[in-house]
């Protein structure tokens, strides 16, 4: 019964299917007639037209890559340029036996195995009629030698090009970054047509973040070629649009002073103009030579860089996260004033240590015998720890987190290069999520002196310092002040305005804290008084010494007994002149010892230069 039903159904269905097949066959026939008429149109009706074209078809279209924009310092010194180079290019389609050709070429120019590996990889990825470089950076002798033998190598030619070069090498590598050969990851996201003649792309720093401006737009040319495909003459040319030049905010002379002062020690120095966010100095030490990366660094050199204890590849300014130490004190003081926990004159008694009620643990002051009666002014000037333990305790973690976050601690600054780290301003919520634990009061105390979980990048620190110098105006740091067209020289200035303002209930608080910071360097007993001696202008600062390892209760910190990598980090933040701030600075010398001894003198040297150079000295 079921079978019968099925059979009947089959008949009906096979009829349906057959009808559809006939309809399909009809459509196919129509489409084939369409193809035939198209071929008829091309081969018969347009035959003369295309015959003419084919006889004159010795025209090829080739891309002309745009010239990459240059990068200048604030003072107009060239920091990234394009140097002419010659490479040996091969068009695989025009060669019968590539290995044989490479073998013959080896007799003329030196070709390393790594060149061949890279070349073969590129051959797979590119189209067969594209020119693929086999050897880069030919010297003059090699170019001449090949020119003489050129007839022996159809499909091989010397290709003139431009190579990115960074004349200052390691000095600005963390700012400018570098370009390198386009790799698989780049290909995924770039406009293949616009990059059809381009070999390099920005990988890091300014070169990466301003890639689209620096690169420009590809041009193309129609060239007449002979039967072997060699160019005879250029018929038509659409010029490429060169990339824009980029002008950095970096003050090279100040940069140099900072580099000299660090003497290749591990550390970071960043200075910015609080008015417009111009980053004047951006040093992450030690650096490395970006030129090695342009055409691919060899793995041995790269592994050396990777393995180096000094970690030169890390951009300490934006990626180095350090405990801020006592440099948080001015900000912590402001948070205390704003929350009404203290007034400026309120005093704490500092016996040299502090304990929570009912606890044995003594939180020590750096000064063993204590600071005695201490108000905010003295606490900042002499960096009294006990004052800030008590202040932090009274504020509590929630108000500290809220207040410090307003200064940008634990947040990215938004500078115009990538890779920035957020560092960390801890909160109850953070600790619950990250560690699965409740917050302990002792952790609040050490947060008051910038220890414990708190971490900051040097750039965050300088942004916060600039905010303080600006009395609340927050400004985003930036590295590029303008771009210019390399043909018309037309300058396009980029503007940077204060985004937000921290409004305090009483603006006198700003002055209270700034005066205290001024006395850190100019006051009697200030922690950095030596660095303020005989200055022809007023500046304000705060020292910091960040512990790398914990010291046990009954131990003392003895520098001589501790290995270098566990010694304290030296920190200093400052701005000058106090009256109308033009420069804010943050300095971190890793394992450099005390902030007053190691970091503050560097700031003084830089300020002296800056004030003189900018003709800002009015005093004495």
């Amino acid at each position: 019964m079921a079978k019968e039903f099925n059979l009947k159904d089959q008949d009906h269905e096979s009829g349906l299917i057959a009808r559809r097949v006939y309809i399909s066959a009809f459509i196919i026939l129509m489409l084939i007639i369409m193809i035939i008429s198209r071929v008829f149109y091309l081969t018969v009706l347009q035959h003369d037209h295309y015959t003419t074209l084919s006889q004159s078809n010795r025209v090829k279209i080739t891309p002309i890559p745009p010239i990459r924009g240059l990068i200048y310092s604030r003072d107009g010194v060239i920091l990234a340029e394009n140097k002419p180079t010659f490479s040996l290019g091969v068009v695989p389609e025009q060669i019968d036996d590539i290995d044989e050709t490479i073998g013959k070429l080896k007799e003329i120019v030196s070709i390393e195995d790594s060149d061949i590996v890279r070349f073969k990889k590129a051959v797979k990825k590119k189209r067969r009629f594209e020119n693929i470089p086999l050897r880069l950076n030919l010297n003059k002798e090699e170019v001449a030698l090949f020119a003489v033998n050129r007839h022996r190598f159809p499909g091989v030619d010397v290709v003139a090009g431009l190579n990115r070069y960074y004349p200052l090498g390691a000095k600005l590598v963390h700012t400018i970054g570098y370009v390198a050969r386009i790799d698989d990851d780049d290909v995924k996201s770039l406009d293949e047509s616009n990059y059809s003649g381009t070999t390099h792309i920005g990988k890091l720093g300014i070169e990466k973040s301003y890639e689209s401006l620096l690169h420009g737009d590809v041009g193309h040319q129609q060239v007449e070629v002979n039967a072997q495909g060699r160019v005879i003459r250029v018929l038509d040319r659409t010029a490429p649009k060169p990339g824009e030049n980029i002008h950095l905010t970096i003050d090279l002379s100040l940069q140099q002073i900072a580099i000299d002062a660090l003497e290749n020690r591990r550390g970071a120095i960043v200075a910015m103009d609080p008015r417009n966010g111009d980053v004047l100095t951006f040093v992450s030490s030690p650096g490395y030579d970006p030129n090695k990366f342009v055409n691919g660094i060899d793995s041995k050199s790269y592994n050396l860089l990777l393995a180096s204890k000094d970690k030169p590849l890390i951009n300490r300014v934006i990626q180095g996260t350090y405990p801020p130490g006592s440099t948080v004190k001015p900000f912590m003081g402001l948070v205390g004033l704003e929350n009404g926990v203290r007034v400026n004159a309120d005093e704490s008694w500092c016996p040299g240590w502090f304990s929570l009620k009912g606890h044995e643990h003594r939180y020590r002051d750096w000064k063993k015998q204590g600071h005695g009666h201490t108000n905010l002014h003295k606490a900042i000037m002499q960096s009294c720890d006990v004052y800030f333990y008590t202040l932090a305790y009274e504020l509590g973690i929630d108000r500290i987190f809220e207040g410090m976050s307003r200064f940008g601690f634990g947040q990215i600054t938004g500078i115009d290069i990538g890779g920035e780290k957020k560092a960390l301003m801890p909160s109850r919520e953070w600790k619950r999520n990250a560690l699965g634990q409740a917050w302990f009061p002792g952790e609040t105390l050490i947060l008051g002196i910038g220890q414990g979980y708190a971490l900051t990048t040097p750039l965050q620190l300088v942004k916060a310092t600039a905010t303080l110098a600006n009395k609340g105006h927050i400004i985003r740091p930036r590295l590029v002040s303008s771009t210019s067209n390399s043909i018309s020289n037309e300058v396009n200035a980029l503007h940077n305005h204060s985004e937000n303002k921290i409004e305090l209930s009483n603006s006198v608080y700003w002055d209270d804290v700034i005066t205290s910071m001024k006395d850190v360097v100019h006051g009697v007993g200030g922690t950095a008084w030596r660095s303020g001696l005989n200055a022809k202008y007023n500046f304000a600062g705060k020292t910091g010494t960040a512990q790398v390892i914990g010291i046990a209760q009954d131990e003392e910190y003895k520098k001589e007994e501790i290995a270098e990598e566990f010694q304290d980090h030296a920190l200093f933040i400052a701005f000058a002149p106090v009256e109308s701030p033009r420069i804010a600075i943050a300095i971190i010398v890793e394992n450099g010892g005390g902030g007053s001894k190691t970091a503050a003198p560097i700031a003084r040297r830089m300020f002296d230069h800056f004030m003189k150079y900018r003709d800002l000295i009015t005093k004495g």
């Binding site: 299917i17 399909s24 066959a25 035939i36 084919s54 080739t62 891309p63 990825k125 189209r127």
Partner: protein, 363 residues
Amino acid sequence: MDEQSLGQRLHIDFPLFFGILVLCIVGLIVIYSAGGQDMNLVYRQAVKLLIALVGMIIIAQMPPAEIARWSFGLYVFGIILLILVIFYGDIGKGAQRWLDLKVFRFQPSELMKLSVPMMVAYYLADKTLPPNILRVATVCVLITLPVLLIAKQPDLGTALLVATAGFSVLFIAGISWRLLTIMGGLGAAGAPILWYFMHDYQKRRVLTFLNPENDPLGAGYHTIQSKIAIGSGGFYGKGWLNGTQSHLEFLPERSTDFIFAVFCEEFGMLGVLFLLCIYLFIISRGLYIAINAQDTFGRLFASGLTLTFFVYIFVNMGMVTGQLPVVGVPLPLVSHGGTSMVTLMIGFGIIMAIHTHRRFLSF
């Protein structure tokens, strides 16, 4: 009927086999010319051809019922491979299409060209035809899933071909004209939404795909050169080995995707008519087998494969003559290259199996 019984025993359909063989020989002749008279290239292609032909004959030995049972597993396997490609795939020419299996590189989207129409045919075979709206919706999901995965690689050309293969089976299965219209309308309405979710670079690729003239250094260059080659060939062609455009190396990919331009330049309009006759012969044989198949699966799958075969021809010729966007579709059985050849031959193997395993029962 002695001849047929020999075919039945060997499970080879001689008319189809003959047509395929003629095409392959034409292919080798044109490859010799297009490849700059490089005998090596011809040998390599001949070896691939032989392997593919052997594959075809082996597949033809399998009873269609056996093949049908593979449908679901093969489909799931293909989907898994497509997902793997997204994560582990090798990149070639800017898209992730290949899985490196150490021994050989494998393109899962190629498998889907067979597996998707097979799955659709398998799904619809035991249902009443024409399929109701629910079944049509299921089929749409079966097709869309792999198509989206392939489009993500991104390989829009193959994605469209796989979709065509699947939908051609649905068409043959008798989907009502009303549903067909509605689906077309939905597709047209969905495109702008998809566009909204695409990245900038994906949009750029689609725009270049639709309008190659915008990209004189890439796709547009191909079309300009191939039109010159075809047009200058004229009615009788320039003669074998005499094509200037291909030999002066103006025409890119002339032994693979653009081999039809070389063929036109050397054999002219006359040659095209001859070539189309062979294709038409193979297609009609395929459709004949489809109509005369014994079960619904066989009817649906054989006609789906045949229609897909035609779509390749149409898309390739349309692309080379400058009527369709440039997508990487070779001219079936003529272009140089192994992967698509193997897929096609397996397809023909299945068609032969459907035809030669028929049983004539007397009721």
